[in-house]
Every structure is written in structure tokens, then in C-alpha cells.
Subunit: 423 residues, 2 copies
């Protein structure tokens, strides 16, 4: 078994799809040093890549956008679940990382993140225990959402038993929406339940997620109700800390949230946290559409001339040309999101070409199976078995979670490093 020696390496190892073929398991430093060239066939396909130049652009873009509104960025980490990308976001000035579940919080913590907004309810006992374990570290700053008296009661009981105090944001929701209190009566029930546990629960602010709505007027109304709720809680002395938190924003409407929360952000007694997660990699589908709206509507975005850039792409290889109008590509549902549009052919490269050419506009994927994509083209298009195709994607979240690592690349598709994911 001549290969066994490759398979035992210390922590930080990378193995599996989308790596070079020289050996079996790498660490991130080896990947950076190897300098694999995707166009030279030095990386196993399909591969998910992050363009360094686009990441840097997007990090800077969002930093400037948030600064213009005096609000802070707590990017949603569920998108990438990558400690290396979290570190980039924190280095670019993010307040902390938003996460969705206790195991996600735990994974972020064990890779160095010390400030987390869990934009979700903490409900089952084992997840409470995971958070409790992390709260034993006094350097760890954490809050999560609550929207029911039943949950407040369960949390109060649990954390009282641990001698700990859990920080909570009241979640504001809308009828027909997802989580969050629908009205004042529900809000009052929850805050009263929290107030019964002053030693173990601390209400420190309010939160909403406007992304369940599709119309701007409805979104602005929800955001104003959220601000009004915060102000009422402050006036009633219901908040446990001198600085309250006000949080909103997914990746599609963060401009509107920034506009609505900007006035409140001027109050030194309020910290405003916005949570877009997909801005870092952006995409060429659903979020490109959102970006077009933002760029048209928002004065700060307009002032920056260029919007966000798609940073996450996939390279794959044509494996069969069985019929004139059809190519089968080695790329499937195990590799790329398909819930918000299939991957979009962007570039075409044949060994020996100087550089990739733009894929013709009429090339499109008609379907994807687990491990194959069906590319529709014209009968006389020149596409051969072994040619490489680069795809843009729609919905980064469900592409990231197909990969345990992604390669970083420069603009000539040379590998500059790797980031890991923990889903």
C-alpha cells in the first residue's frame, strides 16, 4: 500500500476533491507554495475557486459602504463557514461574525472568532450546552434571538442551572414570515418572560430579518417597527446594558436597512449591526440582481462606481460530446448550488490557448444531475472533450457547503492558497 504515507498528516490538512494531484493530503501552506496552474491541468476538476482580486474588492467595498452609514458589519458566516474568510472579514473591520446554529458558533470559536451574533433561536438542550461551554470563556461575546415566552422560560431555567447569563435580542417578525414576534402583545409576553430571569437572561437589543419580504415598502415598515420597538424597550428600562444592539439585513436589502437604521446609529447608546454574508463572494445570479437594484437606488453604492464582483467560480472539464448540441460536463449537484439557477458558463479554455475566451452567450446548462451537467450549445460550436469551462454561480451558500476547501487564485488562475470550510 504505497500511498498510506500520504494519508497521515497533522491538523489543518486538506484532502479530497479540487486539489492538485501530486500527493493526497496537503496543508494550506503547501497549497500556497505549490502554485498550481488550473489552466495547465494541475488541479483536479471540478474545483471551486475564489478570486483574490474580487475578494479584496468586495471586502473594501462593504467596509466603505458600512462606514458611510455609521453602522457595523457582522457578516453572516453561515454562507462560507470558513475560518480563513472569517479572519479576512474581521481584518477588514467587521465587528464580529453572525452565525445560525450552536455548532456553527462552536466551529467559529474553535478557529478564533470571539464575538458572535447568533441570528437564530437557541432551543434544544444540547445546543444550549454547547453555548454554555463557550460562555465559560469570559473573552467570548455572544447573543442570540428570542421570540417566545416558552423559549425564554427554557433558556432562563437552563442558564440559571449553569450560573450563567445569556444575552438576548428580541426578534421582530411579520405575519406570514419566518421567526419573530408578530405584534406588541407577543413582544410583551416575551420580554415579561425574560424579566423573570434577571440573573440568567439579559435582553440587550432587537433584531429583524427583512429578507422574508419581497417589497421595499413592507421592508421599510418592518424596519421602522423594529427601531420603534428598540426605543420603547429602552424607554421602559427593559434593556440590560448601557449600549443596546439593533440588527438587521441579509444580503439583498442591506442598503435599505442601512438607510433606515442610520439615524439610530448616531445614538451612542445603540450599536447597529448589519449581517449580509454573500457580499464577500457575491455571485452572477440572485445577488447580481440584488446588486443592480442597490446600485440603481442607493446613493452610497452609486458613488462607488463599481458594485460587488463575483469571486466564487467553478472550473470543470468537458467529459463527453455525445450529440452535436450537447456536451456533458463533470460538474453536478454535489459541486454547485442549483436552487437559485444553475451555474452559468463564463469562460472556455483549450490546452494551448493563450488565455480563456468568454463562453458564447448561447451556452447554457439545461440540467444538472449529482455529478454531471448538461450543456446546451449549437451543433457546430467548437467544444471538445477535455476542454475546460469556468462557471459563475448563483447562491454562494449552497455552493460553499459542497466543498471542504476552496482554492484561492490570481487573475491568471494560478493557485495562491486555500481556505477551509466547516459545515
Amino acid at each position: 500500500m504505497p500511498h498510506e504515507n500520504f494519508f497521515q498528516t497533522p491538523g489543518g490538512e486538506l484532502a479530497g476533491k479540487g486539489l492538485g494531484a501530486g500527493q493526497a493530503v496537503f496543508d494550506a501552506g503547501e497549497v500556497a507554495a505549490a502554485g498550481w496552474r488550473i489552466l495547465e491541468g494541475e488541479v483536479s476538476l471540478p474545483v471551486a475557486v475564489l478570486r483574490d482580486s474580487a475578494l479584496a474588492h468586495n471586502l473594501d467595498w462593504m467596509r466603505r459602504f458600512m462606514a458611510a452609514y455609521g453602522v457595523e458589519l457582522a457578516p453572516h458566516g453561515k454562507t462560507t463557514m470558513s475560518p480563513e474568510l472569517f479572519a479576512m472579514q474581521l481584518d477588514a473591520g467587521a465587528w464580529g461574525i453572525t452565525l445560525a446554529t450552536a455548532p456553527q458558533v462552536h466551529d467559529a470559536y474553535r478557529h478564533g472568532v470571539r464575538r458572535v451574533l447568533m441570528a437564530n433561536q437557541l432551543v434544544d438542550r444540547a445546543n444550549m450546552a454547547i453555548i454554555s461551554g463557550l460562555l465559560a470563556d469570559p473573552e467570548f461575546e455572544f447573543c442570540c434571538l428570542v421570540d417566545s415566552a416558552a423559549n425564554a422560560q427554557a433558556l432562563g431555567t437552563f442558564f440559571a442551572g449553569r450560573g450563567q447569563r445569556l444575552r438576548l435580542l428580541l426578534e421582530i417578525g411579520v405575519a406570514g414570515g419566518r421567526t419573530g414576534v408578530r405584534d406588541q402583545a407577543q413582544a410583551r409576553e416575551v420580554t415579561q418572560a425574560i424579566a423573570r430571569w434577571p440573573q440568567s437572561l439579559a435582553l440587550v437589543g432587537v433584531e429583524t430579518y427583512e429578507g422574508v419580504l419581497k417589497d421595499e415598502a413592507g421592508i421599510r415598515a418592518l424596519l421602522r417597527r423594529t427601531v420603534a420597538t428598540l426605543q420603547a424597550l429602552r424607554e421602559n428600562g427593559a434593556l440590560a446594558e448601557p449600549v443596546s444592539l439593533l440588527s438587521g439585513a441579509g444580503s439583498a436589502w442591506y442598503d435599505v436597512v442601512a438607510e433606515e437604521f442610520a439615524e439610530t446609529a448616531k445614538d451612542p447608546g445603540v450599536r447597529v449591526l448589519l449581517r449580509p454574508g454573500c457580499y464577500l463572494t457575491h455571485d452572477a445570479g440572485a445577488y447580481r440582481e440584488a446588486d443592480a437594484r442597490i446600485h440603481a437606488a442607493n446613493p452610497v453604492a452609486r458613488s462607488m462606481a463599481e458594485g460587488l464582483r463575483p469571486a466564487l467560480q467553478l472550473w470543470a472539464c468537458v467529459q463527453s460530446r455525445p450529440e452535436p448540441g450537447r456536451a456533458i460536463v463533470g460538474l453536478g449537484k454535489r459541486d454547485a448550488a442549483f436552487d437559485a439557477g444553475l451555474p452559468l458558463p463564463a469562460l472556455h479554455y483549450r490546452a494551448g490557448d493563450d488565455a480563456p475566451r468568454d463562453a458564447p452567450a448561447h451556452w447554457r446548462l439545461g440540467a444538472m444531475m449529482d455529478q454531471h451537467a448538461f450543456l446546451e450549445l449549437a451543433g457546430d460550436d467548437d467544444l471538445q472533450v477535455g476542454d475546460l469551462l469556468c462557471f459563475d454561480i448563483s447562491h454562494p451558500c449552497l455552493t460553499f457547503d459542497k466543498w471542504r476547501h476552496l482554492l484561492r487564485v490570481d487573475d491568471a488562475w494560478r493557485v495562491t492558497g486555500a481556505v477551509r470550510t466547516f459545515f
Copy 2:
């Protein structure tokens, strides 16, 4: 940082979602010893579980089915990508494991699998290098598919350069389908290209994937064409080994493939390999439907009285009851397949109950977001925040790839072990 000591463990570690909360990183032996009880809140939710009794039933069922037709099982490993499940399948008599990509083959190899049918073309250079590396082990038995002269030429060149010989199956396809030669002329082109590389390529059989078709008559015609192609190649002396391979079958039509290939399987010069992958866990959606057809149509299946059992389920927690007819459950697209139907509520459990009750038939998921499911119920249904729900799933492949490990459980939902996945 009191938790750092938990984060450094040797190989075989498990961390992340769907584990107990006592500590952060486990190895599989610790999981088995811990004996967590899901109903007692000892496992972080959501969690993906495999029922031991259903796995054992399904392994035995398929072993008996294959034996009745004198064919061998090469289960498709892309479904689970789990070395522990591969080992179970091999222990239950499987000939080897089918895989879809070179990195999958590599992952299986490094976890002990030594006989692989890669039911796919091997196209790009880095993937050829991965396979070449594994072929250095004389104990490793491998073959893959070919359906174009261009690919045969590329493979011949590459493996000649390595001084190795690659074993190939000619893939038979259908017009409007996926990969595979469409007609005799294409087949002849491919076999002639292979014949130019007698030192580096060995044609050892034929393969088809009938799952691209939806009608039984079309499937039987494709299977007969596949058998006829094999016999013609044998008669022409085009096959390089004394025993030829004949392979077909996904998870929906393996009964029809067994029927069509059974006569050929009696020939000592032919080894028939069937490749269903989803039988091991089965499901309560697309494959339950397939199973119903098989059970109605196939005499061997009928003789076994009971069909396959769903072994893969998800437990999740109700996190919000914001409106009378709506519950929000902590389960999302990051946890479960959604491309062949949303997860199906099966059981409902409240702390203190003796045992889970069947979920009412009118409970159903109306939508799923990344981390949330929207459960529709009647306004006066008794479902509370903190209640546990068990879901059946449809499409095991895209559920498996959301988890780096799954817990094995007994029929009382006590954890008996864990299996890892490598996607």
C-alpha cells in the same frame, strides 16, 4: 481559552453539527461509548441518523436479491461517501464500490477500498494523475468508462507516459441521454482508438446507465443493446481479459437490469456488476416510489415480502410557533435534500413522553430556507417550541453530503456509533 484542549485530537475525529454537547471533538469510539439519547436532548439538533435495524435489513435484502439473479453488487459510493458504510457493504458481500470521480476513488482507496468501478469518464490531467498514483498499488483493481475516441486518445497518451495500463468499459448511451455512445459507428470509433494503445489501454467490458430513461420498454431496449454490444466485442476479440465486465443499474431500475442481465451472468466469461447506491439507506420519497414498482413487478422482490426500509432520518427542534398554522423548525437546505421533495414529518416527541408519536398526516413542510423549515399545521394542533420532530427524507445523496458524520441509532433513538463522510 478553556476549550482549546478539546480541539486537537488525532485522526478519525468528529466535530461540528449533530453531535453530543459534552465536549467538542470526538472520535468514533467515543461516540459509540457515549450512548447519547436523542430523545433526552443529548445530541445537538438537527442531527442526521442511520437506523441500525434498517441498515441491516437493507444490506441483507439486496444481498439476497443479487444472489437470486446471479449478479454482483458494486454499490454506488457517491451516495454516502462513507468508509464505514463502504465496509458494511463489502462485508455484506459487495464485489467492490462504484464511484463517480477520481477524488472519490482516492478517498475510498485511502480508507481501504481496493476494488473500484468508476462509472464515469476520466478526463482531466490531474484526475488521470490521481488514478495513476493509485494504480501503482498492484492490489488496486480499477476500471472506468470511455465514450469518445478523443478521450481514449488522451488516456492512451497519458498512461503510456506512466508505463501503466488503464482498464476501460465502453459506455452505451441513448440519444437525448447523458454520456455513452449513441450508435455502432460511435462505438467503433472508440474501440478503434482504444486498440491503438494496446500497452496502455485495456477494454474489459461494457457499461450503461439506464436511469436517464423513464420508461421500462426503452430501458429494456437499452439493456439489450448493451448486452449485444458486449457479445459482439467478445466475438471480435476486442476485449483484453478472459472475464469481461457487464455493468448497469442505478437505484430505481436495478430489478429490470437484473432480469435483463441474468442470462448473460450465467456465462463464466462475464461478470455482471449492478450499481444501486441508495438501497442502503433508501428513503420515503423518490426511492419509496421506485420500491413500490419493484415490489409489484419483480418476482424475487415479491418473494421477500418486505421491501427496503428508510434508514436515514433527521431529528430537529421546533424553534418558533409565531402563528397558529405555522411552526418554524431548525432544519434547512444546509441539512437535507430538497431537490426531490422536502423532508417529511414522521414523528413528534415532547420531553417527558414515553415514546415518539406518529406525526399527523396533515403536517407538511411548505418551504425550506438555508437553516429553517416552515411546517404547516392546523391552528389547534398541539406543537410547542422545544418539541422534537423526526423527518423522513427524499434523495439520500443530497442529504448525506450535508453531513461530515451521521450517527447510528437503535430503535429507541439511542446512539450506537457514527459514520464519517468524505465529500
